[in-house]
């Protein structure tokens, strides 16, 4: 699993990458009450908006950590946005991307680097 400075996580399995937000992000957001997942087929570049989460505090974009095409989304999150707080780094994935360039993931932080990054916040 790799991490971005915007607190997304991404896990690569073959050419399919699963994307979600980190436990830190979920905790900072507070109770998530709304989730908007992308359309299947949407093509995104790294840094572009992929999904939207809204908590009692704020609405936030979730950005694509790397380039890819959305092949699957978890529509059930819309009905159960609380999943994002309960199990952010596993059950509450937002989208699966088919990626073109797996090497892009190497520029992202690993767990240790991400935790070191969190310590600076």
């Amino acid at each position: 699993m790799r991490f971005t400075k915007d607190h997304e996580w991404i896990e690569l399995n073959g050419d399919i990458a699963t994307v979600g937000i980190t436990a830190y992000a979920a905790e900072q957001l507070g109770d998530v009450v709304f989730v908007e997942t992308p359309e299947v087929g949407k093509v995104v570049k790294a840094g572009q908006s992929l999904a939207v989460v809204e908590s009692v505090k704020a609405a936030s974009d979730i950005y694509a950590p790397i380039d890819g095409e959305v092949v699957e989304t978890q529509a059930a999150l819309s009905d159960h946005p609380e999943t994002v707080n309960e199990d952010p780094e596993s059950a509450a994935w937002f989208a699966k991307l088919r990626i073109a360039d797996p090497a892009q993931i190497d520029s992202l932080m690993d767990r240790d680097a991400y935790e070191a990054f969190l310590d600076t916040l």
Binding site: G30, V33, F34, E54, S55, V56, K57, A58
Partner: protein, 518 residues
């Protein structure tokens, strides 16, 4: 004679929500929907059988069902709406410290003036010779706004702050296009009102955020780095949403202009500097003025807003029509762009703006005078600093160094470890009889609580407010592991007709139309 149901109101339905009248107690009445009240047989008339042939003439236009409207008598109707009006907080009930929204008293003199027949009973399509006074008043409002801001032109049509932003950015886009220099990006600080990036995106610009320094103000280096030949405008609020004056505003304007961009100022917080600082002197090219904030017209449900936009020399030719002019025949609205103005973006709305708000704002300007308006700004700042000083030892001011402007901003650092969140604390203020402060905005401050008392509150009322907040803060800090003491925050509000609501769900999936329970 049997009453017909055809052509009569809808039969009242039993309550479809979890609110039902039987829970009403004392003055804490619950209120059903209007469709759940009244009766189908209280209003309407029974018409005689139509003459032979009439039904054929009407064809399928003949009514065959109830009219799908509620059927209430006049007292039932009146009581329904009065009860509803008592279920919410209002500036006429108590202090309403909603930061960045400037909920100040609406002087009743303004209302009296707005109801004068020459202002209240006129129509936009009336011959202009019959509304000379109204046109002269619009020119008066324009004169005051231009004088107070030090700007040469003003567009009166925008209907609210965000509409004013749209007006300003359309003028900026027209100005760039007029010189063949179409640009792509708009810069906004991370602390911007959400409407700023939203407006820029709506007009078709890409939005780039500029960072904020640790002092709560624009990071000049980041601004300089992000300015470039593709930047159309900078949108900046001053004083900003942290309640701080952007000290480097002259340098910000210089850098912006040097890049060939325009400086849009979000004038939402003009009430903190009116009569003290002229935005035109700061290098501003366009700024909307929320008449419902600085100039005390009703706000939020109390009436339409108005957001006139003042424009610099560079943008003045791009103002939208119409505007008021005077010639030998008297006052009139100039409806058509001529000469240089033909390069403008045209028209923002059908008519000339919110007449009722112009009258109220003008009454406020004339009744205060230039010295009075200056005192408005001074007292707004004084009151906010009084709150910051009285609460600063218990709560954590986001920017403790130096005074604030018209609003006092606290972070939730002081609540850490208590188990009480900003949301809990804000909701518990309802139980104390106050509207909550703005919470979780600006986003750059963790768990933000933004308190704007406005200049219209007396010291006694500010003290009553501070005493209540201090009482709550002490309870939150003293709760420790006492679950019962914490509970009052977690379940707040308890002294309200409805308890804690799912506000996001209400905003995302609103149910705006009544439908019969199936």
């Amino acid at each position: 004679m049997n009453m017909q149901s055809i052509g009569r109101p809808t039969r009242p339905q039993t309550a479809s929500t979890d609110v039902s009248a039987e829970h009403a107690q004392g003055l804490l009445q619950t209120e059903p929907l209007i469709f759940e009240l009244g009766g189908w047989d209280k209003t309407g008339v029974d018409l005689p059988e139509p003459e032979r042939g009439a039904a054929d003439d009407l064809g399928d236009l003949i009514r065959a069902a109830p009219i799908a409207l509620p059927g209430l008598s006049e007292p039932e109707t009146l009581r329904h709406y009065v009860r509803l009006s008592q279920k919410n907080h209002a500036i006429d009930l108590a202090l309403y410290p909603l930061g960045s929204c400037t909920m100040k008293h609406n002087p009743r003199l303004n209302e009296k003036m707005a109801r004068l027949p020459g202002f209240g009973d006129i129509h936009p399509l009336q011959p202009q010779s019959t509304v000379q006074g109204a046109l002269e008043l619009m020119d008066g409002v324009a004169h005051w706004l231009k004088t107070l801001t030090g700007m040469p032109a003003v567009a009166l049509p925008p209907k609210a702050g965000a509409h004013g932003e749209l007006c300003g950015l359309l003028a900026i886009r027209a100005a760039h296009e007029a010189r063949g220099d179409a640009r792509k990006r708009v810069l906004t600080p991370t602390s911007a009102h959400g409407t700023n990036p939203a407006t820029a995106a709506f007009v078709g610009y890409e939005v780039t955020e500029i960072a904020q320094g640790p002092d709560g103000r624009v990071d000049l280096e980041d601004l300089a780095a992000k300015l470039g030949p593709d930047v159309a405008a900078l949108m900046l609020t001053n004083p900003n949403t942290c309640g701080l004056f952007e000290r480097d505003v002259l340098e910000i304007a210089r850098l912006t202009h040097q890049a060939g961009a325009y400086f849009y100022c979000d004038g939402a917080n003009f009430n903190a500097i009116v009569g003290k600082v002229r935005p035109g002197d700061l290098g501003v090219d366009a700024m909307h003025i929320n008449l419902h904030k600085t100039f005390s017209t009703p706000h939020g449900g109390g009436g339409p807003g108005a957001g006139p936009v003042v424009l610099s020399e560079a943008l003045a030719p791009f103002a939208p029509q119409p505007w008021v002019v005077k010639d030998e025949d008297g006052w009139r609205l100039e409806e058509h762009a001529r000469g240089e103005a033909e390069r403008g973006f045209g028209r923002l709305s059908a008519f000339h703006g919110q007449m009722g708000m112009f009258v109220r704002a003008y009454a406020y300007m004339l009744s205060h005078g230039s010295d009075g308006l200056r005192q408005v700004a001074e007292d707004a700042v004084l009151n906010a600093n009084y709150i910051k000083a009285r609460l600063g030892d218990l709560m954590s001011p986001a920017f403790p160094d130096g005074p604030c402007m018209h609003e006092a901003l606290f972070s939730d650092a002081w609540l850490e470890g208590t188990g009480v969140t900003t949301l809990d604390f804000a909701k518990s203020m309802i139980d104390e009889g106050f509207h909550p402060m703005t919470m979780y905005f600006p986003l750059v401050v963790h768990g933000a609580m933004l308190i704007e008392p406005t200049e219209t509150e007396s010291k006694a009322e500010l003290d009553r407010f501070c005493d209540a907040v201090r009482g709550l803060a002490e309870a939150a800090l003293g709760a420790g592991s006492d679950v019962a003491a914490l509970e009052r925050f977690k379940v707040a509000p308890i002294k309200a007709p409805l308890r804690r609501l799912d506000e996001t769900l209400a905003a995302r999936k609103p149910r705006l139309k009544w439908s019969a329970p199936s």
